[in-house]
């Protein structure tokens, strides 16, 4: 071009799209690379150190001793308990979320569509602590739930339930059932929206075809709808599983004195000052989620995120 352009920078960028790309990607990469990955590696490195039993100081020698400590009975209990809780919460969340998502995707129209949509989205974004707090109110001895059971003259049902070992306890607010209920409540919206998104994409004609070919509604559900909703369910389960596994606030406020991974990490790095063991504990969710994400990716769940 003969005439003098006033924008040499634009020309350069237009001719060299790779340069533009580099300019775009560098700031976010630097941030995530330094702040996030840097910190993550700092943590991983700590897990290969150990704590000196006599002095209580960290010895900076590479060792797998700290990981071996994870396998001690009391620590292994924490790991298994947490994974069991995360699985129970995930499965129940899928069961409770499915009808809501299915109704919203298939039957809700117009105003009801918006109601269902916001109905799942507002709790998803509303304050986590407020949600936990509301359950503290509900499960309290003088709270709504006990009042409800008493008013309905069903207090004996509750007592019989609390007498069951493991899931019961002195009251709901100090039982595993209480912890489970709060987890289910807090993470449920994370399950509804991805399932709904995947169900929205199922063409109604496919369900009609299934019915026309003689499938009963149950069969359509089992062999047509569920497989198509599976990526959504997996996408939701990534959140419910990961969030339950790393949480240390819910079990601290509602639940028994037995700890979960999050609480162990928090205590070991804080009051106990055993950062290597805290780091080793923190590596477990990373590994579990790594495996989980790899499996989810092969099931095509990332399109639903």
């Amino acid at each position: 071009m003969a005439e003098a352009r006033r924008a040499p920078l634009s020309d350069t960028l237009w001719r060299r799209p790779r340069l533009l790309l580099a300019l775009l990607i560098t700031p976010p990469l630097l941030w995530l690379g330094i702040v996030y990955l840097g910190a993550l590696f700092a943590l991983l490195a700590q897990s290969f150190f150990s704590i000196d039993e006599f002095s209580g100081l960290i010895s900076y020698e590479l060792t797998l001793k700290t990981y071996a400590e994870l396998l001690r009975a009391s620590n292994l209990d924490i790991l298994l308990r947490t994974i069991a809780m995360a699985s129970a919460v995930t499965v129940s969340a899928a069961v409770v979320a499915f009808p809501i998502a299915y109704y919203a995707a298939r039957y809700a129209r117009g105003r009801w569509k918006a109601v269902f949509y916001l109905g799942a989205m507002l709790p998803l974004w509303s304050s986590y602590l407020v949600k936990v707090y509301s359950w503290k109110l509900i499960l309290a001895k003088e709270g709504v739930l006990n009042w409800l059971f008493e008013t309905l003259h069903l207090a004996w049902v509750l007592e019989a339930y609390l007498a069951i070992p493991v899931i019961g306890g002195n009251s709901l607010s100090v039982s595993w059932t209480g912890t489970f209920l709060v987890f289910l409540y807090v993470w449920l919206p994370f399950m509804i929206l991805p399932i709904q998104a995947s169900l929205e994409r199922v063409p109604p004609s496919m369900l009609e075809a299934s019915g026309d070919l003689g499938a009963r509604p149950g069969q359509t559900l089992r062999y047509v709808i569920l497989p198509l909703a599976l990526p959504g369910i997996i996408a939701g389960s990534i959140f419910t599983f990961s969030l339950t596994m790393g949480d240390y606030i819910v079990p601290q406020i509602v639940g028994t004195s037995a700890r979960m991974i999050g609480q162990a990490v928090y205590q070991f790095q804080g009051t106990a000052g055993n950062i290597p063991l805290a780091a080793a504990f923190a590596v477990v969710p990373i590994v579990v989620m790594g495996v989980y994400l790899t499996l989810a990716k092969s099931a095509g769940a990332f399109d639903e995120l």
């Binding site: 976010p28 996030y36 974004w125 509900i138 449920l188 009609e208 601290q252 923190a282």
Partner: protein, 267 residues
């Protein structure tokens, strides 16, 4: 194939929605109760006095101020970084593209406690003292993905030929950015920003590791949850927090309603 939902499905769906909403509504009732020693239900009486008490509490105002400052700055950082990242990933194919989108998701796909303890041990190693900026560092990191998701979805819908046409007609990159790209992605950015703000305003798990002695509003609430001392004030604060977070979420929803990707589907 029925075009009407069966009764069982209806009950399960509506029951599920009630399960999600009744507990939050309960807090609204508790904010007005006259009982201040226990969580007694039903409330023995109703009063407005706790709103006045809360209004005159300097610690609540301080925590609120810190939370708002942190949320504003983190949202700004996340807006810049998230948009840049989305623009790069949406417009071209390059080596490591998949890895970058995974890297962006990672801070929310991994449990918050991991981000928290990682940052704290990094601060320890680098000898960085706790300050407002250490909180912001953590918040901006997990807010990037929210902006990124919204912006990336909009970039996918914005046709690249618009940008080419603008450049062919002699516009510079700045002009194209100002008159073609920005109008196209503005609402998505605004929605993403609102969601990032709500996410940061409410965050507690990462914050407990990066705040030191400072109190954001969620940390103030957490202390009240663990050791309840001022139940009525906590009730009022909880109710206000619900209202404050609902507004940006509703705004984000209305800003992106009608497009194929409505903001707020993922957190």
């Amino acid at each position: 194939m029925n075009s009407k939902a069966s009764l069982g499905l209806k009950i399960a769906a509506i029951g599920g929605l009630l399960f999600l909403h009744l507990p939050i509504l309960l807090i609204f009732v508790y904010a007005f109760t006259t009982e201040d020693k226990s969580y007694q239900w039903p409330p023995p009486g109703l009063t407005f006095q706790w709103f006045e008490v809360t209004w005159n509490r300097p610690d609540v105002w301080q925590a609120l101020g810190l939370s708002l400052r942190v949320a504003c700055v983190s949202t700004l950082i996340a807006l810049v970084l998230g948009t840049l990242c989305a623009a790069a990933v949406a417009r071209s194919r390059f080596f490591g593209r998949e890895a970058i989108s995974l890297l962006v998701i990672l801070p929310i796909a991994l449990p918050g406690i991991i981000t928290g303890i990682s940052l704290r041990s990094a601060f320890n190693i680098a000898d960085i003292p706790f300050s407002t900026w250490t909180i912001i560092l953590g918040h901006a990191t997990f807010c990037i993905v929210v902006v990124y998701n919204n912006a990336a979805a909009r970039f996918r819908r914005t046709s690249a030929s618009l940008i080419e046409a603008s450049m062919d007609l002699g516009a510079t990159y700045w002009q194209t950015l100002r008159f073609v790209i920005m109008p196209n992605i503005a609402t998505a950015l605004l929605a993403g920003g609102m969601l990032a703000f709500a996410l940061s305003f409410d965050e507690v798990i990462v914050t407990t590791f990066t705040a030191g002695q400072q109190q954001t509003l969620p940390i103030w609430m957490l202390e009240e949850l663990v050791r309840p001392r001022q139940r009525p004030v906590t009730n009022v604060v909880a109710m206000v927090v619900v209202l404050v977070t609902f507004l940006p979420i509703l705004a984000a929803y209305y800003l992106t309603r009608g497009t194929d990707t409505v903001a707020g589907q993922g957190k």
